[in-house]
Symmetry: C2
Subunit: 126 residues, 2 copies
């Protein structure tokens, strides 16, 4: 079932981004089947981690970010997206604050197998 | 598995949109698990239809579109998204050409239960 919070109207990404300021703390804005769309603000370095069971998508809404892999880095600018394959260790980084839309199954933990203090609560909607 | 075409670098939505001109003919640009990300150009009215087994997401990249339901219309502007619930009859419309990112399971047929001449081939990548 779709979440009823999806049912009333358009989800404006800029308006949703204006409702929070914390970095590395994804906010859910929509759900399609079991897939969630989460806005995240990033600044600095996240933690190295992987997700054993799922791919993960980042679509940059504002600014620039880097997805680091052990053998290369992928730069993402506004209007660019990337699919991080399941099981592949990665880190997200942003020299200046960057805003992105994450698309992934609803139960994915942001720090994957790494855990730690940057682990965010899931299913926090804005 | 992720499609290998995802693996090489960032997917730039504007660059992908520049590779085709046909309306109502979605092009796949990425795959996350069994979910595909498809760019579509729209102008005019599509056909009334529904998808019995899945929700469907539209995220407007350029222009404006309307998602019509039997009891209301939802206007989507650039940077806005909407989740069409499974099983709900709808039609997409655009007075001027509009570009959107569709997110849905990979085997979804664009015309759903309606079929007809606007039915597009699936899994066409750009």
């Amino acid at each position: 079932m779709s979440d009823p919070r999806n049912a009333t109207g358009a989800v404006n990404l800029d308006e949703k981004l204006a409702t929070f300021s914390e970095c590395w703390s994804p906010r859910v804005v929509a759900r399609m089947n079991d897939v969630e769309f989460k806005l995240v603000k990033m600044h600095g370095d996240f933690v190295w981690h992987s997700h054993a069971d799922t791919d993960e998508v980042f679509l940059v809404v504002k600014g620039e970010m880097e997805i680091g892999f052990r053998d290369r880095n992928v730069l993402l600018r506004e209007g660019e997206m990337f699919v991080i394959p399941r099981g592949v260790e990665h880190i997200t980084r942003a020299r200046e604050e960057c805003h992105a839309l994450i698309v992934e199954p609803r139960d994915v933990v942001n720090t994957g197998d790494a855990g730690g203090e940057l682990t965010a609560r899931n299913d926090v909607w804005v």
